[in-house]
Symmetry: C2
């Protein structure tokens, strides 16, 4: 599972890695193969096993990348925010998706034809280099987060995920959890019951305030301590 970094400051794909390396002609070329697609919360963008034809860039919203195990249980690999490169994980090494992608909030994508992107890599090596750097950064981050979470006990994982949403996604102490308790469990590898139990403990300890999906972080320092301690 993973949390990508918000590495690109610009407004969209073009304003970030592409814009830096592409010529005006090449940008126009990209414009031709670009479409914008909206997905409602809950909708599935692609299924594990589907053929990869497109390169997705999330403009707006929030999605989860996940796999389903043999007991039909979902395991979230990563949550992706705007400017993260969805599908960067297997787009260039596989012909078929190795995981599924679903919107956990209403989302808007820039969708590019994958062949056009690949052509562009061969046409413009600076673009290729930028892509290499970004793929590396994302996967590195996926692996690091997994590593960090594995070392933590359940309370530490819940603290970690709360800080993640509070700081990285919503940048506020007060936010609405986009995930159900069950999905949180799938994200950090524990049972729904324990997610609830620990959230309740945090509430009783005055660390957070809960009203359904509304969460307010009351004691950020404590949360950080719990997260670090594991």
């Amino acid at each position: 599972m993973e949390f990508h970094n918000p590495t690109f400051p610009g407004q969209c794909f073009f304003k970030s890695i592409l814009f830096d390396s592409l010529t005006p002609d090449e940008i126009h070329l990209m414009d031709d193969v670009k479409t914008e697609i909206k997905y409602k919360k809950g909708e599935i963008i692609c299924h594990e096993g589907d053929e990869i034809n497109s390169f997705y860039h999330l403009k707006n919203g929030l999605v989860k990348l996940y796999k389903v195990d043999k007991s039909d249980k979902e395991h979230i690999i990563s949550i992706a925010k705007p400017f993260d490169f969805i599908g960067l994980l297997s787009t260039f090494s596989q012909t078929h998706y190795q995981y599924s992608i679903a919107a956990i909030e209403d989302s808007v994508f820039c969708v590019f034809d994958i062949k056009a992107i690949k052509k562009l890599v061969l046409l413009n090596s600076k673009f290729g280099m930028a892509l290499i750097e970004n793929i590396s950064k994302i996967t590195e981050h996926v692996i690091n987060t997994r590593f960090e979470l594995n070392g933590k006990l359940l309370r530490g994982r819940i603290a970690y995920i709360l800080l993640y949403f509070s700081q990285n996604v919503y940048k506020s102490n007060h936010f609405e959890l986009p995930l159900s308790r069950k999905e949180i469990a799938e994200l950090i590898d524990m049972t729904t019951e324990n997610v609830i139990r620990i959230l309740s403990e945090f509430r009783k300890d005055q660390i957070i305030k809960i009203e359904g999906k509304q969460i307010r972080v009351l004691n950020e320092d404590m949360l950080r301590k719990i997260s670090v301690a594991g």
Copy 2:
């Protein structure tokens, strides 16, 4: 932790992804910045936090990529075999290593100056594309293996790792474990005691034969069943 695929059939780096995409001139260019370095079993090739100056390609031997947690416990991210691209994980996204690398068998590396490799990417976009595909493949595999192992109970993990060495590394039912019991524990996230305990159980159940580090797989089917069942 991870097991890379032996994706490159050739004799060395040049015979695989580079050779396909480089001109003779470019190959000579690479020859100039290439050195060969040998490491004895147990030697550390690089430490987490070291500056990345080189691109390593394992010609011969076996190495482990690992991180050290705050209790000084090692966690193996991946075992790499010849033709795997050591250091492909952060070479292009970081200036410093995010993990350490150590030889678990006597090993020989081709070492390239990292700047030369990066220059080559910009010079030859086909090479860049090949690199993208390989980085993707490796990281994909790292993530997939982690995912698989996470779902398994201890017995399943031991079975998995025994099959891995038997089939992917040594391609024989009889082999010498290159890792200590402790290192196996670090590789699949469990305690040394339990590694020993479960190996003993497998021995009693006639699934394997153990003489120190010599392992013989007696009942491969059973091992596979245990691995899949988790």
